[in-house]
């Protein structure tokens, strides 16, 4: 249980950190994002990497709660209630990111990149909220059976 919770928290820290440091790296030519070797390519990759980490974190938190719902609800109903508040938002911003991505891929101009930042900020906030919902409310020892995922 502790390891699983740590994993979710670590993943959140990692994807936030990724956004801050990824600019130092370069894209290998010939890769899926190295289309023009322009600055825009690494910025788009950064958006994609950040989205994928945030998505994976939110997805893991939702799945963890769903797979262990009975036990977690008995422990603290607010875990489910908190996640239920952000589930519709997560779907909304997931869809917004994908729609924005499709537009950018069809017309990759650097001026479109800031749109990603707004959506990613929302998704990152949802991931932090999801982690907090699980992490902060399961701190006390639980005499419940938790499955692995």
């Amino acid at each position: 249980m502790k390891k699983l919770l740590s994993l979710i928290l670590i993943a959140g820290a990692l994807f936030l950190w990724t956004g801050a440091t990824c600019k130092q790296a370069r894209l290998e030519p010939g890769g899926a994002y190295a289309l023009t070797n322009a600055v825009a390519d690494i910025q788009f990759y950064q958006a994609e990497a950040t989205f994928s980490m945030a998505y994976a974190t939110v997805d893991a938190a939702f799945k963890f709660e769903k797979d262990n719902r009975a036990a977690l609800f008995a422990l603290n109903p607010e875990i489910k209630h908190s996640l239920d508040k952000i589930r519709p938002e997560a779907v909304k911003f997931r869809n917004e990111y994908i729609a924005t991505r499709a537009v950018y891929i069809s017309h990759p101009v650097p001026t479109a990149l800031p749109v990603f930042e707004t959506i990613l900020a929302k998704i990152q906030q949802l991931a932090l909220t999801a982690q907090a919902a699980i992490g902060s409310r399961t701190a006390e020892p639980a005499v419940v059976k938790i499955t692995g995922q």
Partner: protein, 81 residues
Amino acid sequence: MGTTAIIALVLQLVEAAATSGPAFIIIAQKGREIIDALFTAKLISADQQLSTKAYVDAVEAMVNAGIVPDHWKVEPDPEGR
């Protein structure tokens, strides 16, 4: 957050994933790939780019198919609570 701390976190991440279910392994793999790219080579390899693109493409395919995973849906509270 320093480099040493980041690497320590990722090692914990990988260790945790090794004893957890498949849902967490994806996150661990991403963490390892990112660390390798940024601190070992300082280069996002073609494979890393392909991995990231494939992951987001899979999410896109779900969105385009109108799929919302069950664990992303709001469901009634467990009965008797």
